[in-house]
């Protein structure tokens, strides 16, 4: 069954309509749902029961890693060839603070953005939904709800009917 389609793509005219439909779909027992919107819509991830993203934790770890790398580097080079620089201490922690701070931020920021892309599975140039005839409106002023074919309750005809009932302007079957 599931093999012959990726899922059904339903188009809505406003974020509110989309939210309503999403809630109904959850209510109707659909689990493999996804929505596509031109800008982040409040409450959508709640309606779809999406897990809280864990990007922040990775950022934290990245920060610590950066600090550690910076400190170790600076201490090591002074340990490897200790030179008397204007009578300053060999391990001048106060002087090392600046580079440590910079690297903390660098590592943290980059790790978060990398994590974001990774978890989103980006880059991904080819994706079934792109085949949707009206999908290009998802980046303009339309709001899409997608029921994927690997959902237990998925059935091309009934699901399509269900979506129209919940106010979709158009419903389309996305090939795999």
């Amino acid at each position: 069954m599931a093999a012959e389609a990726y899922g059904l793509l339903a188009e809505f005219g406003s974020p509110e309509a989309l939210l309503k439909a999403a809630r109904e779909a959850r209510g109707a027992g659909y689990r493999r749902l996804d929505a596509f919107t031109p800008f982040p819509v409040e409450g959508l991830s709640l309606a779809l029961r999406l897990a809280r993203p864990g990007v922040s934790w990775i950022g934290l770890i990245g920060g610590f890693a950066g600090a550690a790398v910076a400190l170790l580097m600076q201490v090591y080079v002074n340990y490897d060839y200790p030179l008397d620089v204007g009578g300053r201490p060999v391990y001048a922690i106060s002087a090392f603070a600046v580079v440590t701070f910079e690297l903390t931020i660098l590592f943290s920021a980059l790790s978060m953005i990398a994590a974001m892309l990774w978890q989103n599975g980006l880059p991904r140039l080819n994706h079934p939904v792109f085949a949707g005839r009206r999908f290009h409106l998802a980046s303009k002023d339309r709001y899409f709800l997608c029921v994927q074919s690997d959902d237990q309750a998925f059935d091309p005809q009934q699901t399509a009917a269900f979506l129209r009932r919940s106010g979709a302007l158009s419903v389309e079957l996305i090939p795999p």
């Binding site: 996804d34 929505a35 596509f36 919107t37 031109p38 800008f39 982040p40 819509v41 959508l44 991830s45 999406l50 809280r52 993203p53 990007v55 922040s56 950022g59 580097m73 600076q74 080079v77 002074n78 490897d80 060839y81 030179l83 620089v85 300053r88 001048a92 002087a95 090392f96 600046v98 580079v99 701070f101 910079e102 690297l103 931020i105 660098l106 943290s108 920021a109 980059l110 978060m112 953005i113 994590a115 974001m116 892309l117 978890q119 989103n120 980006l122 880059p123 991904r124 140039l125 080819n126 994706h127 939904v129 792109f130 999908f135 290009h136 409106l137 998802a138 980046s139 303009k140 002023d141």
Partner: protein
């Protein structure tokens, strides 16, 4: 006040219309002529820079006017100036994002772009000013056959790390914010070439709910990091001077003084660009007088804080009572380079006062002129801080004077080309105003309208 801030944007426009308008700028570029003319001018400047750099590397830094005691001048001075300008971009997009002032949504994109290229302009100076630039790599820690490492107590070493970090993070932040708009442009594109260009750069963004939730978190947290980063970078730049014992440099006020000055000059440049762009591309519907008003206020605020820095510096010198500090203070006010001090005061703070009036703030041309004067003023301030402190330090017998040569100027003007060329390319190929954030704001406003 509240309801005015509620709709910065006129609500009588459709989301679709905004999308088409903005994505349309790169896709069906208006104002080709003007763009071409400016581009030619910018390329000429860039060529000048290339020539100057060639001369510099073949003959040595001697082609500049520097000497002993003034062995730092235009290179470091313009480095600080450019970096300062850059900071405004990050502050606008990151700081205002965190404080939830959404009017920044129409400005953040080109502000960040400006940051990027300003930082590049700044970044080449530390390389150019080296006596032996081909040994630049000695400033990075790598296992050398010499067994010698960089010296991490030196502000210059901090500098390299700070600027590179700043450049990388700004780039990442800018690009992250750009992805959804690239996707929008991709979906509007008709020609194959544009489709591939935007298709790849958009990384296949689909605007799915999961994407958005992770994206928002990453974007906001990066913004949260960018703000302290800006502060740290320019504080560190100020340490370049404050770490030395030269009177006029060796002062604890420097870090905040520099950061505020940086924001001040940066916001001025942002205003200039904002006014120019909305005039070019008829974006009055998105960059409204309301925006200019707010920009004017910010400019006034940062300007006054910078002025406080000036006042405190004088107080500082008098309070310390060190004969050399006072000597330097007198030199600033009455010395050979007094024109830089007074010039900085006049250009920075006199026209600025006009911004107390709402009408002036909302008038594009007026704001443009004031901003321009601020940019000049801040340039003079950096000249003053550098040269006036160095040309007369402690020992009378070592006092000297500095006169910029042709190459000093050509290198400086050249960097303006280095800034303009990529910036013009950017507005040619990339949506210069954040499409989705504008729509987000617009939608909210429309909601409120229906609600109220």
């Amino acid at each position: 006040m509240t309801d005015r801030s509620a709709d910065v944007l006129p609500v009588n426009q459709s989301l679709g219309g905004v999308t088409e308008q903005l994505a349309g700028i790169p896709l069906h570029f208006p104002a080709r002529r003007r763009w071409l003319a400016t581009m030619v001018f910018a390329c000429a400047l860039l060529l000048l820079l290339m020539v100057s750099i060639a001369a510099l590397f073949t003959r040595g830094v001697g082609i500049w006017g520097i000497n002993i005691p003034v062995n730092w001048a235009f290179a470091i001075h313009n480095y600080v100036w450019w970096l300062g300008i850059g900071h405004a971009g990050t502050l606008i997009s990151a700081f205002l994002l965190l404080t939830g002032s959404e009017w920044r949504n129409s400005l953040n994109r080109f502000a960040e772009t400006m940051t990027l290229f300003a930082v590049i302009c700044a970044g080449i100076y530390p390389v150019l000013h080296l006596g032996r630039p081909w040994y630049l790599y000695w400033m990075f820690p790598y296992p050398a056959t010499m067994g010698v490492w960089p010296q991490f107590r030196s502000p210059l070493e901090w500098d390299i790390w700070a600027v590179l970090t700043y450049l990388t993070v700004s780039l990442a932040f800018w690009y992250t914010g750009l992805i959804p708009d690239l996707a929008a442009a991709r979906d509007r594109a008709r020609s194959r070439g544009w489709q591939i260009f935007f298709g790849i750069t958009a990384l296949g963004w689909r605007g799915s709910a999961a994407h958005w939730s992770r994206w928002s978190q990453a974007y906001r947290l990066t913004a949260g990091l960018a703000v302290p980063l800006v502060v740290s970078v320019h504080s560190e730049v100020s340490l370049l001077f404050a770490a030395g014992q030269i009177p006029g440099w060796h002062s604890t006020i420097f870090p905040p003084y520099f950061v505020l000055g940086a924001a001040f000059s940066g916001f001025a440049v942002v205003s200039i660009i904002a006014i120019a762009l909305r005039f070019w591309f008829g974006l009055e519907n998105l960059v409204t007088d309301e925006h200019l008003d707010l920009l004017g206020k910010v400019l006034l605020a940062t300007g006054l804080m910078t002025a406080y820095g000036y006042v405190f510096e004088v107080f500082d010198a008098l309070y310390s009572g060190g004969p050399h500090e006072i000597q330097t203070l007198i030199d600033r006010i009455a010395g050979a380079y007094a024109w830089t001090y007074w010039g900085a005061l006049v250009f920075n703070f006199i026209p600025l006062q006009a911004l107390w009036w709402r009408r002036v703030r909302r008038c594009g041309s007026a704001l443009l002129l004031i901003s321009a004067s601020v940019v000049v003023g801040m340039w003079l301030e950096r000249y003053m801080i550098l040269v006036t402190s160095l040309y007369r330090d402690f020992l009378v017998s070592s006092w000297g004077e500095f006169t910029p040569t042709f190459w000093d100027w050509s290198t400086y003007f050249g960097t303006i080309g280095l800034f303009l060329v990529p910036f013009l390319l950017a507005i040619r190929f990339i949506p210069m105003i954040s499409i989705f954030e504008t729509k987000e704001l617009l939608h909210e406003e429309q909601e409120e309208r229906h609600g109220g």
